[in-house]
Structure formats: C-alpha cells, structure tokens
C-alpha cells in the first residue's frame, strides 16, 4: 500500500525544514524537531552492520540534544564552519511496526487526521566529510496519537505548508465535469457544489420540484461529507 501523498509531502517538508534550521545557524531549534524522548544517533556503517551501539553521537532525549547545542555555542573549541545541506528525494515507505515502536523523533504532523502508526520514514543524509565514513541517519516513527490540535514545532514556527488533498468519494454522484467531490487542506474540508443527481445513476431523470431537488442536493452533500470522514 503506497504512502499517502500528503504524508510523503509532510515528511519531506520536515527534512527540508530540519536541514534549513542547521544551515541557517538556528541550531537552538534543532532539538525541537524531536519528540521529548526522541533519540539522535550518528554512527558508522560498520557499527550499524555489526549491531554495535556506540557510534559518533548518541543523544537519548531532547535534553542531551540541548546540551550538544549549549556545548557547541559556549564551551567547545573547534574550527568554525557552516553547513549547506542538499536534500535529495526521500524514500518514504510503510513498515510494519514491532509491538513496541522504537523511540525516535516524531514526524507526526497531521492537520486533518492522525498519521498511521505503521508509517516510518527513513532518511539518510551524508555528513560533511565522507572520509569519516560516517553515515548520518535518523529514523522517525510517528506516534499514532498526535491529535489535530498539536501542531508540531516545525510547522508552527514557519509559514504553514499547504498540503492539499483532492478527494473522490465512492458512492457520491458522478460529477458533471472533472471536479473533485471535496478538497482537504490544513484541517479544512472544502466541498464542491452538488447537483440533485441520482448517486446510483447520473443519467436518471432529476426529481421533480424544488423541494425534492433540494433534498437530493443535501443528501448528496451528506454522502460527500461522510465519505471524507
């Protein structure tokens, strides 16, 4: 089953915003891309293959990420440098989750409904120096219980992303032109106007009289709303 285009777009948006925060020297915001108990792990390909836990960096929870930022800003002596990430396309795939989902950063961003718990996005970006033979990856396992109102940091801080879903509803009348039955965006559902068409047979004669036709239009709108959830 393919990943919904809206979820894919949101995951890619997350990755771009994440890279931008680092590139734009807004690293104080970097921990906020993660859930409170999220994990950040930078390791090597060899460690990953061998199942060895110690890599280059290991942050267990947002607090340890904040400590990384504080140390970088205030304590540590290092060669000044800046970053410029080039983010390529991301493989977004469904994966059956284990009984206990791994703790990881949350990409849950579901303006309209919750993201299925089976969704897992894996993104890999290479670090600055490939000679370090370092693979930097973060796994995201969105929790399934992020409610509508909880807009994640990376969406709330920036201009909202208009993720538009065009909906065709099974059982609703055949449109008279190439219209969608409804369009969903940012928590809103926009319903296309309905005719008093018979949902089962759009060639059937229309009901007679304004009252019957109005009733049919209202019933058709109900079909669309029910179908859109």
């Amino acid at each position: 089953m393919p990943v919904h285009a809206a979820a894919r777009a949101q995951i890619e948006e997350l990755l771009v915003r994440y890279a931008h925060a680092i590139d734009n020297d807004e690293i104080e915001n970097w921990p906020l891309f993660f859930a409170e108990d999220g994990q950040y792990l930078v390791t090597t390909l060899q460690n990953h293959a061998k199942g060895w836990p110690v890599g280059i960096m290991y942050c267990d929870g947002r607090g340890m990420m904040q400590d990384r930022v504080t140390a970088l800003r205030q304590a540590i002596v290092f060669e000044p440098h800046v970053y410029r990430h080039i983010v390529g396309s991301t493989l977004t795939a469904r994966r059956r989750m284990a009984a206990t989902p791994p703790k990881a950063i949350s990409t849950s961003c579901a303006p309209r409904r919750t993201v299925p718990s089976s969704l897992m996005a894996l993104a890999a970006t290479s670090t600055r120096s490939s000679r370090n033979r370092t693979a930097c990856s973060f796994a995201s396992a969105p929790s399934c219980s992020i409610p509508l109102a909880s807009t994640p940091y990376w969406l709330s801080r920036f201009e909202r992303v208009a993720v538009i879903e065009f909906l065709m509803i099974r059982g609703a009348p055949q449109p008279v032109a190439p219209f969608s039955h409804a369009t969903a965006a940012d928590g809103w559902l926009f319903v296309t106007g309905q005719m008093p068409t018979d949902p089962d047979d759009h060639t059937a004669p229309l009901p007679v009289g304004i009252e019957a036709q109005t009733r049919r239009v209202i019933e058709n709108l109900k079909l669309v709303l029910a179908g859109a959830g």
Binding site: W52, G63, M64, A75, F78
Partner: protein, 413 residues
Amino acid sequence: MLEGRNSQHAWPDEGVTRVPYFVYEDADLYEAEQRLIFHGPVWNYLGLEIEIPSAGDYITNYIGDTPVIVVRAEDGSIKAVVNRCAHKGSMICYRPSGQVSTLTCPYHNWVYDFDGNLKSVAFRHGVRGQGGMPADFDLSAHSLVRLEVAALRGMIFGSFADRVMPLEDFLGARLVAHVERTLDRPYRILGRCSQMMRCNWKLYAENSRDTYHPSLLHSFATMFRLNRLSAEGGIEMDEAGWHHLVFARRHTDKTSTDYDAATLRANEVGYALADPRLIEDWVEWDDGITNSIMTLFPCLNLQQSLNTVAIRQMVPRGRFESELFWTFLGFAEDDERKTRIRLRQSNLFGPAGFISLEDGAIGEFVQRAIRGEREQTAILEMGGREVGPSPKTRTTETSVRGFWRTYRRFMNL
C-alpha cells in the same frame, strides 16, 4: 641511522625541552620513521582477539604506512603478514574484515597459507603445455612478509623486528599490570569509528601524553570536575620511559585552586547540563581511578574515563594527515543499565566527543601555524626539564619529554 643527517635535522642544544617544528613536516624524517620506528624494535597494536574468534577470521590494519593482515590459524594461533602479494604487490585482503580459507590474491590468484607460505600459482604449468612459470620457479622463495605476534589480555601486537624484546618487557611491569587491571573481565566491542586529523601523527602522540592541557583546553571536563588537575592523580612510566600512564581519582577533587578564580577560559563557561545522565557513572575499579590514559610508544592509547573504555590507534597517512581509530569496549557481564551508561558517556569521546573533538582540532591548529618554519621550536618545561614518573601531580610535561627522548633514540636525532 638516519641517512643524510646534517644541520638541517639538528636538534636544539636544550634537548627534550625543545621540539623543532620541522619534525612535523620533514619528508626525510617521515620516511625514516617508517623504517626506524614502525618497522623497528617496537610492538604495534593490530587489533583484538575477539574480532577473529574462529579459524580463517581476519582483520586488516596498518603499521605506519604498511598494510597488515591479522588472521586466526586452524590451530587457534594468530598470524600477521604484510597485506601485499609477493607477485605484483597487490593488496590481498581488500575488505576490512572477513573469513577466508587461504590468503588469495585477487590479481593473479597466487594462494598463500596463513603463515604466508606460497602454496600455488595460477597457470604455473601453463595452459595445454604452453606458457607457465620456469621449471625452477620456487614457491618457497616467495612468501608474504611475516610479523612477530604477541598478545596481552586479547590485545594483539605485531612487530617487524626479528629481535624485538618480549611484549611484556617492552611494556614494562607497571603498564602490563594496568592493561590487566583495565581489561580485567571478558569484554566486547561496543563500537568503532575513525577520524581524519590534518596533522602529523606525532602531534597527536604528544597530545595524548600531555597531562597539562586537558583541564585548560577541555572546558567540559573542568566544569563537571571530570579531570581537573586538583584531583588526586599522577603519572607513572615504564623504566625506559617509552610509555606512560596518567591517572586521576575524580572524587578527591575538593580543593580550591586557580580553577575557582574564574581566570581560566574553561571556567568562564559555567553552564549546567540539561540532562546530567550524560556523566552518570559508577566507580568500577577497586583502585578508585576514574580516569586513566595509557600511551604506548609509538602511538597507541588505552583509555578508561569514568566507565568509558577505549583503544585509540593512530595511523600516519602521510606527513600532514593521520587517521585515529577508536574502539569502544564494554564488558560481557554488563546489564542493560550499564551498557546504557557507557553509551551516554561515549558522547565525551570519539570524533564528536565533548572532550576529544578539541584534541582533533588542536593538532591542525599547530600544523597550520608551523608551516615551513625551520628555526622555531616548541617549549616543554612545565614540571621541570627531566623525564620521569610524577606520582603526585599531572601539572607537568614529563611524558611529552619522554616521548621525544624515545623518538630521538630511535631516530638517532
């Protein structure tokens, strides 16, 4: 002997309290180090026995510039040979590790046993009676270059020298005891990584012997009293002064010193950890030592900092670059909680460690600043002008002087 020894390579009259900057740049010295030190009468670290548990398991490593294969033989013994075919010089094992039944060169299929004896040559007798090696071609005259091998607590060492002293004598009783103390239980690898440093290998060899810098350069260590010079600690050495061991007991650090005068950069920072679990630890060894760094000549460290146990091996990659290989260890008996503590503490070390990343930067700061300088020298007078153990204080450069005294003897400088 260092050929071409002349005024160009003259050591300053002050002796080991001065280090001429040309030693970090000079091409003749780099070439001579390969012969006189890395291929000389020293034991070089090659890996861990637990990495090659079964017959045919191999790992590869480097001694100086020379690639080496370390393999477990059928009888359980460990063999080391140069990773270079006797035919055309190709690398034989081109993967970092693996399992093989013979050492077979990928180029022309010359086959060696684990002792490096040439067993067969492809098309030796030609094809359909045509071609082939001359009739008097002698397999036994074309072996791989063999190394002497010795091990201590599962740490494998190799030597190119025929007449190298036994490993225990090379290390000295004090350092042997410390290896046995640190690796006192069955251990396992928790992780491995390497980092490129844009500096000569000797700058890192000095840095890891420099017991005076940590609390000054590494503000993180000072802030959290991980390694302040006011804690009880000192330096021990082998009798020859080739290797050294610095140790400290963190929990003894109660005195007031310059650290509290807020004049040190390291002290000005003054931040608190959002998540103090980073430095959660337990006193793991009966001697109460919370930090010990053992450095072996020429360039190996065995480190125990809190509950982090790590082996650091420096491999020169030319005059101006080096690769530092980290191997983090845990113990077989560790439960989930102890492993988690070691995992969190590992953020202090490695290429991105709160403490050790600064050591990665500082070598390059020196290398860039001394470029082309033939006259100037570094000064090593902290703690006096001698080389010797320092049981009561780490505010000294005695170990760094010890490194240079050893280096000069090997290099005839």
